[in-house]
């Protein structure tokens, strides 16, 4: 049963949201998901770019009124 962890990185500046995501990925199981809440527009571009490079999986990017949900699945 895969779990979803939420990281509230709203208000954090680059590369804070990315670093929090990476640190959390080390703690969760393969197959688990992490939902990063970020108010930093760059993260909506940078996190998917990082995920593509290191070969995890993008689940979803959703834009809310004042922040993004960036959902990543741990693949390895």
């Amino acid at each position: 049963m895969s779990k979803r962890t939420t990281i509230d990185a709203r208000g954090a500046f680059c590369p804070g949201p990315l670093m929090e995501l990476i640190a959390t990925l080390k703690l969760v199981q393969i197959g688990d998901e992490i939902d990063v809440l970020s108010s930093d527009k760059g993260s909506a571009i940078d996190i998917p770019a990082w995920v593509g490079k290191v070969k995890h999986e993008m689940v979803e990017i959703a834009e809310e009124t004042d922040h993004w949900h960036i959902v990543v699945r741990k693949i390895k």
């Binding site: 670093m19 990476i22 490079k53």
Partner: protein
């Protein structure tokens, strides 16, 4: 292991903005499966002293903004990059000699060893070299 050519960074400026850019570049590259080596010299060496005070960043307008708005600290970014990726940090022997800084004055969790420019440049032939 990554096939991306390693990133070699020479950091010699004491300006907060350049230090921050170097820290961001080094840490993001390291966590993106790219090996990073940092050669620290001149005014940047003081950043890595055990007694460096984070209130003492010196820079221009952007430095003031960064400190006001609490962006990730440069030293912490180097620490995160080292923890989460592959990063080596060398303290320039010449700068240590000139400034009379010993290796034990520097943060051992960040500075791997004292190094020379000749070897760093030679190693950098295998990758990409940038200077801050």
């Amino acid at each position: 292991m990554s096939m991306t050519p390693a990133l070699f960074i020479i950091l010699c400026s004491g300006e907060h903005e350049k230090i921050q850019m170097a820290a961001m570049t080094a840490s993001v590259a390291a966590v993106s499966d790219r090996p990073v080596e940092v050669f620290v010299s001149m005014n940047a060496l003081a950043l890595f002293r055990k007694d460096f005070d984070k209130k003492c960043y010196e820079g221009g307008d952007f430095s003031n903004l960064m400190q006001e708005r609490k962006v990730p600290d440069a030293i912490e970014l180097f620490q995160q990059g080292k923890m989460l990726g592959e990063m080596k940090i060398y303290a320039c022997s010449m700068a240590m000699d000139v400034a009379r800084i010993e290796l034990e004055d520097l943060m051992e969790e960040l500075v791997d060893e004292a190094g020379g420019l000749t070897k760093f440049l030679s190693d950098a032939e295998s990758g990409q070299l940038i200077v801050f």
